[in-house]
């Protein structure tokens, strides 16, 4: 593959996917600046691997790269902060159940549960595709989903009232 062709194809892919991928990263790392760094690092890897990625596997490869980078960042940051500084519970939600409340509730989820939430409910992936992206069993995806939903309902009661 000539370099010009590779660059053109990558640029097209980048333009189409950088925002959705950054949103997934954001939900895992909870900081837009960090999410952008994480996404860019992953896309650099995608560029370098470009000639070796089968066209049909490009999306999955990029998603997996972003999620791996995001989880690494979140795990490392958690270690740097120190467990003694991580609150047992999220900060109390604001009264309206608005963005601040959701942010706080998401912060209370472990990084891998946030990744499951991001892939399933923002990237619209099936349980099977989420499992593949994270390299975990489908049963683990279901378990993470269930626990994450329960935590969100508990910490943001307003969310529980939506369907009622």
């Amino acid at each position: 593959m000539q370099r010009g062709q590779r660059d053109a194809e990558f640029t097209e892919f980048y333009a189409a996917r950088v925002r959705p991928l950054r949103r997934v990263a954001y939900l895992v790392v909870r900081d837009w600046h960090a999410a952008e760094d994480v996404t860019q690092r992953a896309l650099v890897k995608v560029y370098r691997a470009w000639p070796r990625i089968q066209p049909g596997g490009l999306e999955a490869y990029a998603r997996r790269a972003v999620v791996n980078e995001a989880l690494t960042h979140a795990t490392r940051r958690g270690r740097e902060i120190g467990l003694d500084q991580v609150p047992d519970q999220a900060a109390p939600p604001d009264r309206d159940g608005g963005p601040l409340a959701l942010d706080a509730a998401l912060a209370a989820l472990p990084p891998q549960q946030r990744a499951v939430v991001a892939l399933r409910f923002v990237d619209d992936l099936s349980v099977a595709s989420t499992a593949e992206a994270l390299g975990i069993a489908e049963g683990t995806v279901k378990s993470h989903t269930s626990k994450a939903m329960a935590t969100l309902r508990r910490l943001v009661p307003e969310l529980s009232e939506i369907q009622e």
């Binding site: 370099r3 640029t11 650099v44 560029y47 370098r48 000639p51 070796r52 959701l102 399933r120 939506i162």
Partner: protein
């Protein structure tokens, strides 16, 4: 709250995202720079031109795909400075240690990685490979790059990167008084042909020692826009048991030979502009 509700809430939550502050061009530049730094470990083939060659021949450096050798000419180019100088250095400095060099294999390309005649004005990357009697392979390189792109393609963090990525057993880097950067390294490679080789991690090498050649390399990148280098590759179960025949001092003498580092002997085309993003 159903799963559909959660999806709706999360999407609303993300509607006020800031604009993207980076571009595809940034990613492409960074990707090439990382590839280039790794190339310094290849043993001299660290010029900008080789980074282009890597884009054309991705298996040359890393990844899961075997390296694809270009159709290399077996007949030695004649009558041009770099090919003559490389063959002369191989004969006088390498052969005494490794025995008969055997037939040379040449690979000469332009800045886009396209094969060109050795005496062509656009010839920017020269690689000469031998399979001598006493060693698995010996490879010598000379490449040009635009001097103003030195910072972009410097060896700056090659050893730090290789340590972080687990790509080398040892890597020593030094900046000389004239601003040139030199690197001495030991690293594992696979899918080795006369003029290509694929850098792998030390961990990968331990898993498949039967597929690995261990290279001891010396590389130099000058402020005049020239890089040169030489590698000796041997088969061994590990770097600890590898027996290289050519002393490092001799590798250095070859790579720093004035004829090879003559900036007038190679092309110095800049990378074409990266567009898009």
């Amino acid at each position: 709250m159903s799963e559909h509700d959660l999806s709706t809430i999360l999407r609303e939550h993300l509607t006020d995202e800031p604009p993207v502050g980076v571009t595809s061009g940034d990613a492409i530049r960074r990707g090439r720079r990382q590839g280039h730094r790794r190339l310094a470990l290849v043993g001299g083939a660290a010029a900008a031109v080789l980074a282009v060659a890597v884009a054309v021949l991705p298996g040359l450096v890393d990844g899961d795909e075997p390296g694809r050798a270009r159709d290399a000419a077996s007949a030695p180019p004649e009558g041009v400075a770099i090919p003559g100088a490389l063959e002369s250095l191989a004969a006088t400095k390498v052969e005494p240690y490794v025995g008969a060099l055997g037939a040379p294999t040449w690979d000469v390309v332009d800045v886009e990685g396209r094969p060109v005649a050795p005496d062509a004005a656009e010839a920017q990357f020269f690689e000469l490979g031998y399979e001598p009697a006493g060693s698995a392979l010996v490879q010598l390189h000379v490449a040009g790059y635009a001097p103003e792109e030195f910072d972009l393609y410097s060896f700056g963090s090659t050893c730090a990167d290789s340590e972080q990525d687990g790509m080398a057993v040892s890597c020593e880097q030094e900046t000389l008084a004239d601003g040139s950067t030199i690197i001495t390294s030991v690293a594992p490679y696979t899918d080795v042909t006369n003029t290509t080789k694929r850098l792998i991690t030390v961990a990968q090498a331990r898993k498949h020692p039967e597929k690995v050649l261990w290279a001891r390399s010396f590389s130099i990148s000058t402020r005049d826009g020239v890089t040169a280098g030489v590698s000796e590759l041997v088969r061994a179960d590990s770097a600890d048991t590898a027996t290289w025949l050519v002393p490092v001092e001799v590798l250095r003498e070859i790579a720093t030979d004035a004829d090879l580092l003559n900036p007038d002997a190679v092309a110095h085309a800049r990378f074409p502009e990266i567009t898009g993003g």
